[in-house]
């Protein structure tokens, strides 16, 4: 089965492109301390605001820091924000979705109303609110994005569980007295994995984009830690004399988020039996 999925992804050129982008990014994040030519926070005032060239591939910023090295280290920050935020959202969304779909009745309507209500508020407003009142830091950014982005996933998982719950193998498990937790983990979770994988992939891109927005408002990752969003924000003050400061981080965010979205869409096509029949 996995082999078939893999082939579908490979034959989908856009999804494959997304996968390549993400692989490069992951390598950059893992190897940044080996590949980066300079210290990402090392200042060199005599070499400030230099354009892209042989010494500094992507130029230097207002404090003479090497943009290429900072972007390499920034990929770590962006990726970890994406992955951890999505991890939190997946945990909450899956748990609520499974409980809601399995038990049905009052619990289901209560939880789904909760989802509807949370979806009524603009997510960015909730995030902005919490971050502004807590200290802005990389951890708070991760947690808050995770805590506000689960409702959509909960709905998807619930819908999936609703269709599986009545199938024979789940009812058989109930009849022989399998514990609820076992049913959840052995029977329900594996069968809901494809919507989870798809929305997790899309979610990572979303979280990276949200971080850049928060950084733009000064509420994201705090300096000197380099995140792409924060580099972009710094660059906007120098956009007339140093275009490279905002161009490269912007392109990096665009390419990364696009990569996750293309892969996510490809996965959706590959994992959805309806589209491929």
């Amino acid at each position: 089965m996995l082999k078939i999925y893999w082939q579908r992804i490979r034959h989908n050129k856009l999804a494959a492109a997304g996968l390549v982008i993400i692989t490069v990014l992951t390598l950059a994040a893992l190897l940044s301390s080996f590949v980066a030519p300079y210290d990402p926070v090392g200042q060199n005032i005599s070499a400030r605001l230099q354009g892209p060239g042989a010494a500094h591939y992507l130029g230097t910023d207002d404090l003479g820091r090497d943009v290429f090295s900072r972007m390499l280290y920034g990929s770590r920050i962006s990726l970890s924000i994406g992955i951890i935020a999505v991890g939190i959202a997946v945990l909450i969304g899956t748990a609520i979705g499974i409980i809601s779909g399995y038990f049905g009745g009052k619990i289901d309507s209560l939880l789904m109303r909760l989802v509807d209500i949370v979806l009524c508020f603009p997510t960015f407003f909730l995030i902005l609110l919490v971050i502004a009142f807590l200290e802005p830091s990389i951890y708070n950014v991760m947690i808050v994005i995770g805590l506000t982005s689960w409702p959509g996933l909960a709905r998807l998982v619930r819908a999936q569980v609703l269709t599986i719950r009545t199938r024979e193998f789940v009812q058989a498990a109930e009849l022989i007295g399998t514990s609820r937790l076992k049913i959840f983990f052995i029977h329900l979770l594996p069968n809901t994995i494809s919507p989870i994988i798809v929305s997790a992939t899309l979610g990572v891109g979303d979280a990276i984009l949200t971080e850049s927005g928060l950084s733009f408002l000064g509420l994201g990752v705090q300096p000197p830690m380099p995140s792409w969003g924060q580099m972009l924000t710094l660059g906007k003050d120098y956009i007339h004399m140093a275009w490279w400061l905002s161009l490269f981080p912007g392109l990096a965010i665009l390419a990364t988020v696009l990569g996750f979205n293309l892969l996510g869409e490809g996965l959706r096509d590959a994992l959805d039996p309806r589209i491929n029949d």
């Binding site: 009524c120 508020f121 407003f125 927005g213 972009l232 956009i239 912007g250 979205n261 309806r274």
Partner: protein, 325 residues
Amino acid sequence: MANYLIKRLLYTIPMLIGITLITFAIMHIVPGKPTDFMSDMNARVSADSKIKLARLYGLDKPWYEQYWNWLKRFGKLDFGNSFKDGRPSIKKIAERLPASLLLNILSLTFIFCAAVPIGIYSAVRRNSLFDKAMTVFVFAGFSVPAFWLALLLMILFGLKLGLLPISGLHSLDYSDMGFFSRVLDTSKHLILPVVISAFTGLAGLSRYARSSMLDVLKQDYIKTAYSLGLPENKIIFYYAAKNALLPIITILGLSLPALIGGGFIFETIFAYPGMGRLGYEAVMARDYPVVMAVGSIAALLTLLGNLIADLTYAWADPRIRYRNR
């Protein structure tokens, strides 16, 4: 239809209660009481007058009583006065709401007009070059940091080419203009915000139209239509598109909060006089009454948008009406 209408209206009641509970809870969870703002800034405020202030705002009462008071004020849309200038929060929103609605309605219209043809054509010519190019195009819009794109376009069209104004909704001499120059002036100010917000919001709707159309194209009645030899245009636009586009009405309602939410960064960078910028400034200044008012009004608007979308859907699709009897 009447049954469905009543059912759908009843469903908004727990939603309303939920929204008021959440806004109330947020106000109480965030560190710092509203009175801190007045007392902490002032060294001469004694502990005694702090208690008096708390009593004045009803902060000494048990939570359910405070919630009941909040509910009563919510019903009258009274969210208290802004800490910044002492004016009622709801008045400040009323001033900003039209500009936000104008921007959102325009960009929704743009999105709709672009997304539907893109979605239909991509589905009909699935895996064609057009389909792939459009997939990348709409996802690029979804993936680009909106403020970055705004900045680049502002520099290109505003400063380098000098074609478009880069901030606000009106020029300085707006009040001296005649009707037509006013319309022209406002349109010029709106072009960049509307185009960028439409481009960044295109993905959801166009992908939805595409997959919905793909589903319909596989149905038996479409295959029958093809086998009867009906002209392809008629099949696509008359039989398929009509059915594929119905669910989009609901998606339009669902995209409301994203549009309002997108406004926070967007309106700030364009210095656009809308609700998003008001909300952002209020959050940054810890102007609680305005923050809560913006959050509540945004949620209420979304609730209303969803209600209208669902009712329109039920009106257009008899299956919904009858299933819910």
